[in-house]
Assembly symmetry: C2
Homo-oligomer: 348 residues x 2
């Protein structure tokens, strides 16, 4: 009999196959604008953008953040990368009997602070308790809803001046040859900070998680105009995001290794641990696809925000096979494979 | 240092105090129509009804249902009791490494079937895996959104012919003296079925869980007109629901013990186990408050549906102290206390 393995929840190809076969296949198809089968960051139904995420990060509190901050920022970001404005959050908290209430207070305080920071209120919730031993301390599932705004309409109007735009939301299938790919900042920080802290490697003194809500930064990008798609590269990192885009938009993406923002500490930690920084999850970054003529303008707008100060153009979209080609720093080319899963378990 | 106890998630007074002090207090206040602080079945923001529930029921599959059916029916019911029409569900599934995939398939199939049955699609989701030993098999958190419908407008218009109605949704604070209380069917079935099955008492041969989506039955009630509030008596059962209404609507409620629908098997099981069927959770029942002149009409409409065939008028709302008085079958009166929690743990 087949059993659940860690990679079934690790965001890569193995998870995609598992979800398609054992979860999504059992559910009836809905007439949503962006349906479940699209497996995008959020669904859209009757112009309401709707998303949910379960959070199992271990440990609960880590350098740069905690499960409460991730759970608010994560759903706010999932709504925002569709081009929508998040308006409310719902949270389901499941606690282990015997957990210190002081820890609950710390995590809930952090959720409240993050909610205040991004201006998206937590409007409803539910709390359950499982007996001691039935759960490792705490999990939090958060859902969020968002609405269409004039910002997105104007943004897509700008993009439409240059080429036909397929979807009216920033979906994974909205890229076309010629589009430019922007990363909003350094990649791999979250996964490396968490792994290092957990395993005691010592890199955590310099590398902190990047977890943060990105709705304000994204609004600045949309104001610049011409963005056609966005995704937050969480589980499976940049490699997963770009490969999903290639297969859903039926394009090839070419990226320049030298232009990918990476902290020196992340590079050396990944070298030492034998993991790829491009396959590790991030919690405060967004990858953007925009029409070529607006790329510099969008980049500038993003760079003016605190969350986007290290943003960079990292590649372009081509006609070709559904794959990601990376031009290496030594002048070669290699395929950036879709990861089977995230190399670091329970990072979100 | 204070620790989490099972009753912090058991739906009664201890939970209410814990939530107010350690969860809700940390979150910023929102300008929602029905805000977090109202602690109602759902929140309402910009006319979108929004709810979330975590599901930790043990065992995953039990007589009459399973965690998948509960997770869909539960959120659909939380939207419906506000008087709204549920339009979409989001699900967050968290799995334990090593769990049989066959069980996942069974649960997801049940979610799909329930979603099809009630006509509310699952439009988005998320799956995580925790390592073996970090979670007892599986938890599912589901969120749902709903919209205002003409049905609710018309229903409240009818109620307004007889008296002023405070809220424009079916909130806990909408009752007034004179209103009639209806129970949609037999109480205690879910909790007794689950406890008996789990502990091997043998009652489960006759008592099955009542878990079911109630949106269609509720729509029939609204069509009759005059309903001002509804609540599904889950954790803490009828005793919890009525006491919440008393304190939020500032009224006294008087119920007739003899008119409360209870299965003989539930009565004898509860006698034997020393638990109160009125404090046990239900998953397929609704308690309704409506204006007196429309009570018989609403009752008939509910009784015509399969889920409401055992519905009965069980009491009336009075001016008085914020408490529930029960007229006993032997002619006496006693106060139906708000339960400290549900006597049966992990029933939903």
């Amino acid at each position: 009999m087949s059993k659940i393995i860690m990679n079934h929840g690790a965001g890569g190809e193995i998870m995609q196959e598992f979800l398609a076969k054992h979860i999504v296949s059992h559910f009836p198809k809905a007439g949503a604008d962006v349906p479940l089968e699209a497996m995008d960051d959020s669904a859209v139904i009757e112009d309401i953008v709707f998303t949910i995420d379960g959070h199992t990060v271990n440990p609960l509190i880590f350098p740069g953040g905690d499960i409460g901050k991730i759970s608010v920022a994560g759903t706010v970001n999932d709504i925002s990368v569709m081009g929508a404005t998040p308006i409310a959050i719902a949270c389901s908290v499941i606690l282990e009997e015997g957990l210190d209430i002081e820890i609950v207070d710390k995590i809930m305080e952090s959720m409240g602070r993050t909610s205040r920071e991004c201006g998206v209120p937590i409007v409803t919730g539910d709390t359950k308790v499982m007996e001691s031993g039935a759960l490792d301390k705490m999990v939090i599932s958060t859902s969020a809803i968002g609405k269409r705004s004039k910002l997105l309409d104007d943004d897509l109007k700008v993009a439409s001046r240059y080429r036909k735009v397929k979807d009216r939301w920033c979906t994974d299938s909205n890229l076309a040859p010629g589009d430019v790919i922007i990363a909003s900042g350094t990649l791999g920080d979250h996964g490396v900070a968490l792994l290092s802290f957990r395993e005691g490697y010592g890199f955590e003194s310099e590398i902190q998680s990047d977890v943060t809500p990105l709705n304000k930064m994204i609004a600045e990008g949309l104001k610049a105009g011409g963005i056609v798609t966005m995704k937050d590269p969480t589980r499976g990192g940049l490699a997963n995001t770009l490969n999903e885009w290639c297969s859903k938009s039926h394009v090839e993406i070419e990226i320049e290794q030298a232009s990918i923002p990476l902290r020196a500490g992340v590079i050396s930690a990944c070298d030492l641990l034998g993991i790829d920084p491009l396959s590790i999850g991030n919690e405060g970054k967004v990858i953007i696809g925009c029409v070529p003529s607006m790329a510099d303008h969008v980049l500038k707008a993003i760079k003016r925000t605190p969350e986007g100060r290290n943003a960079a153009i990292i590649g372009t979209v081509k006609e070709g096979k559904e794959r990601v080609i990376m031009r290496t720093e030594v002048g070669g080319k290699r395929i950036l494979e879709p990861p089977s899963g995230d190399p670091v378990p329970r990072i979100c």
